[in-house]
Amino acid sequence: MEQTFYHALEIKPDQCIGCTHCMKVCPTEAIRVEKGKAVLFENRCVDCGECFRACPVCAIIIEQDDFDKIFDYPVRVALVPSVFIGQFPEEISTEEIYSELMEIGFTHVFEVEHGVEILENELKNYIAKTENKPAISPYCPAIVRLIQVKFPALVENFVLLKQPVDAAAIYNKKKFLDAGYQHHEIGLFYISPCAAKIAAVKSPVGEKFSEVTGVINMNVVFNMVYTGIKQAKKETCIIPYRRSLKPKGVVWSLTRGESVNISGRSLAIDGIHNVIEFLEKLENDERMDFDFLELRACDESCAGGVLTTGNRFLTVERLHKRAEKAGKKHMNTYDHDSIMDYHEYVTSQLGLEKVKPRSMMKLDDDMLEAMKKMKKVHELMLFLPLVDCGTCGSPNCASLAEDIVQGRANITKCIFVKQTLEDRKVFSFEEAFKSLKDIWGEDKFNKKWQVNL
């Protein structure tokens, strides 16, 4: 049986106008438009959020936990990724942002990239040891899911290590447990820049559950914090204990944030379509002898996350400046209350189980059956205009042909075919075929391939 998967993305039928924008940008062809509404194929969706960006009427939402849920916990830690700080204009200091996070209700603020202090070495050791080269970073959960569904042969190349947010959650959980709190008293809330990271918390790959208690969308927290700062009238403010993030941590979530630390041949690619293009090539050519691949779904990596508010280039600029500043500080002093206090414990918890492939491309489990279906798809392609207009509700003619063969659609969904059949008053398959050949030319589909099925 096909399993279904949790997705942070949800389409609101009430709002959807069936315009097909989302369907066309989906990198895994996971969206169809049926009866004027977009619907999601759960098993194909990789939570990249491209549809969310493309929707002109905000009919796609990213599910999150209710903010007030944080108040169920006496200990309320905001697990903040460094790109959050990068959302704000330069003149707003990190201290102000931290302070306002406490004002809105958190009891502690912890930047997740402190986890990099432990993870960096673990990553280096893993890459040095693994035989499955190129080692692929599982940092971006949309990429993990993309490879599972579209490039199943590459799942073995994943670095089986948890990520900074996990390290941060593991550390904070343990720290507060050791301080005498109970499990149910500790709330660890991740402020997510994207849908994929939410899915990774709610339905993790390679681990049973996540230590993170809940997820709140970054744009929501940004609005709360920025409003708070803008309207601040108070005389005093809370200055939380803040341990400065090391330069590598500051830029870890940006493009080349991981790869610059890896010796040997490594490559950093951002943008999910760029990643797909590269992986297609990687699958063909065995001689691409890379040691490490850092692949991120969003342009400019997490600075371009779908839930960010700031301009991604400005975010990158701010974070690079911050990293530079952090680098100039005296970094050799050992801060008290650091993730390094729990170095051994956190390290022992970082392993991931093997990532399983879940190919979405197969036409059928049985190869003979799949061959029959492929043959039908090919026959249908001779009828279809190859305009890829999307009006039928499938992203392109090839996927309509597949949908028809899989019993999900009907050939008359194609407005070109339908019009032709009506105009010429033809009803038999042969007649229709002939009419269509007259219009589109005999060889349209067969130009490149000679196929004998």
């Binding site: 042969a153 297609e280 063909n284 050519d285 492939p357 190919s359 197969k362 196929v451 004998n452």
Partner: protein
């Protein structure tokens, strides 16, 4: 059984690999094991690039059956003088230009052998080369 043909032009590195990509997509649709797809595609890609790098033109024929994939590549080109020598790792006749593009490291035939179950190479100097790659699917 399914049968596909593909034509390639010598010297056209821009499109080198498109047959491999097409075949890869189809094998994924046919639910062939990812590890086996990888072997087939790597071997085919090598063979495809060989034609682009060395021959004037060539034709690829691909037969897919439920138990095996058979690929035959016939080219018109200079042929291979000594097949045994060409089967050795590192042996290459590629020009510097081709090598600069990352091709022609002298791993073509050995890599094809490694990634296929049966490899058959026949060649006539001055006429062309015929490469047959068989990969079994039920293992």
């Amino acid at each position: 059984m399914m049968n596909f043909k593909y034509h390639i032009e010598g010297g056209d590195f821009t499109h080198a690999g498109s047959a491999s990509s097409q075949v890869k997509k189809m094998l994924k649709q046919l639910n062939v094991d990812p590890g086996i797809i990888k072997r087939i595609v790597v071997a085919l890609y090598e063979a495809e690039v060989n034609i682009v790098a060395h021959a004037y033109r060539g034709d690829i024929e691909i037969d897919i059956e439920t138990d095996k994939v058979f690929i035959k590549l016939v080219d018109q080109g200079p042929g291979i003088k000594d097949i045994n020598l060409a089967m050795q790792e590192g042996y290459s006749t590629a020009s510097q230009m081709v090598r600069d593009m990352g091709f022609g490291a002298g791993l073509g035939l050995p890599n094809m052998k490694k990634n296929s179950d049966v490899l058959n190479v026949q060649s006539e100097v001055g006429k062309g080369t015929c490469v047959e790659i068989t990969t079994f699917l039920n293992k």
